[in-house]
Amino acid sequence: MAVNSTLRPAMRLAESTLREMYWFMLLSRRLDERAWAIHRQGRIAFHISAIGQEATQVAAAFAINRGVDYVAPYYRDLALMLALGMPPEDFMLSLFGKHDISSGGRQMPFHWSYKNLNVISGSAVVTTQVPQAAGLAFAIQYRQRCGMVDPADATQPRLALTCLGEGSTSQGEWHEGMNWAGVHKLPMICLVQNNMYAISEKTDQQMAVANVADRASAYGVPGVVVDGNDVLAVYDAMAAAVERAYNGDGATLLEAKMYRITPHSSDDDDRTYRSREEVEQWKARDAIPRFKQYLIGEGILSQADADAYDARARAEVDRAQQVADSAPMPAPEEALGDLYAPSDAD
């Protein structure tokens, strides 16, 4: 079937791709819920949740060249990581402090690092990844300018995507990273996941403007606000940003509005700063049933398909947990490894 290029980007997605996007949203949600459950059982020490942010993250992953374009994520990016190709069991291994790919059990969970997927390692210090993403994007531009790569070569990274929360945009690192991206017209996308809270602090305690995206003009880049619970709308906005980056037109600041459904982390008690009514109101706008209804309504997904996805997600989460359960703990002496890269690592 010929693709109609006048359609908005999301409308050009194949039905199988739309179902796949739904699958990753669902898988992320089920893994996340399992993490909360095993935390309540006292089996893991810590969880920080992506619930409420899956639509944005999956849309972002599907809009870039997955596994090839650079990604500098933040801790809440579980659905993004799954959609990029993180094995679910690797997340479970990290929850248990076992030998995960990201850090071999050295880092807390949610500090993603997948060299094979061009996902760079992050720290717990918010926003440090943003100016680093400018560095990744700079390297892309440098290679193209020096003739080391063909700008059209889709086997090479052609943009750097970085994510963070709205509270984290108050950091100076954010300004410096955005400024670099603007000055050098870098192929970078800064995706702000505005979930209305930074632990307990509300957006108006972080900034004097209504939207993070309002600051974009200070960096000479477009600032776009999108409904983060509308997976197709996020996809459209991301696709435009990707096209800009690939065409050498520079960076984009994209702000997806959403709501952090859970407490900040397993160590937080959100009843100390927000009402249950507010949380319930936002739960009613959950992106996952919304997308499911859309797909069913369009005849892209049947109720039977949806039930099968539910069963498959449950099985996949069970399997991932099983793998992690039976894996050995790292040897204590592994704490001493990887101080310096050996010279032949070059």
């Binding site: 790919i101 500090h111 690092s113 390692s121 720290s123 892309i140 670099w180 310096y340």
Partner: protein, 327 residues
């Protein structure tokens, strides 16, 4: 062998590395057309162009972070911090990010970057153009730190730093940029990161120093030689990781240790050298381990007399040698 200045040696190292590897680029404030405020990159912009000599925004943390990101993308950045005193805005990126990357990613991500930092006093720079910063950064596992005190080492260590797969900080004693001259070999060579250098062999007392103080210590050693004191000067040259064997071997020979740095005393780099000697060289000592350093005040003062009072120099080093020899 030609005789050149320390800064010319650094410039040659960068020129050769830019020519050798197209992944090498230089980024910092005024490093392009201006050739750097100290002229370390003079002529390189004309030769390699704006793609490889990047005048950064006036923002140190992003110089560092962009370097880290580019290094992870397999380029070879040489990041210049204009003065050591201005490195603190980048502290987070160096300490929490670049230096921890290899460990925290279980050996998956390397950060092959160079951080060039002019440091040190005695140039009329006052509190904020004179600082020594080695104590802060030598407490950071995962980072390497070198401090050349000769043109030979400046060129050879900087070239090694560019080729190292880890973040390497090159502390450049800026008072010595033009004051220190010396011979370098014709053609290609490197100096390995790690081993200290015996700048002068001696039997009576060991003087441990680096940067400008290694240069001064060698002068002081010649002065006391005329009085019959045979001082050994050990130029540490790599502060991280530290060459403990060189320190202990020297003390084993002389039995006396004087550590000299211009940074302030308390928790300064000399404390670690003293601890190494106390732990591994105790039985060889026949005197206390002494430190000659800048005083514990918040900075090198601007006014000449106060500045000179702050800085150790060949005379005060010679006096400290005599004093310890008299113990």
């Amino acid at each position: 062998m030609p005789e050149i200045t320390l800064i010319e040696a650094l410039r040659q190292a960068m020129d050769e590395e830019l020519a050798r590897d197209p992944r090498v680029f230089i980024v910092g404030e005024d490093v392009g057309q201006r050739g750097g405020v100290f002229r370390a990159t003079q002529g390189l912009y004309e030769k390699y162009g704006e793609t490889r000599l990047i005048d950064s925004p006036l923002a140190e943390l992003s110089i560092m972070a962009v370097g880290i990101g580019a290094a992870m993308a397999d380029l070879r950045p040489i990041c210049e911090i204009q003065f050591a005193d201005f490195i603190y805005p980048a502290f987070n990126q160096i300490v929490n990010e670049g230096s921890r990357m290899y460990y925290r990613s279980n050996g998956a991500w390397c950060v092959p970057m160079v951080i060039r930092v002019p440091y040190g006093g005695g140039i009329g720079g006052g509190l904020y153009h004179s600082q020594s910063i080695e104590a802060y950064f030598s407490h950071v596992p995962g980072l390497k730190i070198v401090v050349p005190s000769t043109p030979h080492d400046a060129k050879g260590l900087l070239k090694s730093a560019v080729r190292d797969p880890n973040p390497v900080m090159v502390l450049e004693p800026k008072k010595g940029y033009r004051a220190i001259t010396g011979e370098i070999p014709d053609g290609e060579y490197t100096v390995p990161i790690g081993p200290a250098r015996i700048a002068r062999e001696g039997r009576d007392i060991s003087v441990f120093a680096y940067g400008m103080m290694a240069y001064y210590a060698a002068q002081a050693a010649e002065t006391v030689a005329q009085e019959g004191i045979d001082a050994e000067v050990v130029d540490l040259r790599t502060l991280l990781p530290l060459d403990k064997d060189a320190i202990v071997n020297s003390v084993k020979k002389t039995g006396k240790a004087l550590i000299v740095h211009e940074d302030t005393l308390t928790m300064g780099y000399g404390a670690e050298v003293a601890a190494v000697i106390a732990n591994d060289g105790f039985e060889y000592l026949d005197g206390p381990v002494r430190r000659l350093t800048g005083p514990d005040v918040p900075g090198v003062p601007f006014s000449h007399g106060m500045q000179d009072f702050f800085m150790p120099n060949p005379d005060t080093i010679a006096a400290a040698i005599r004093d310890l020899m008299g113990y």
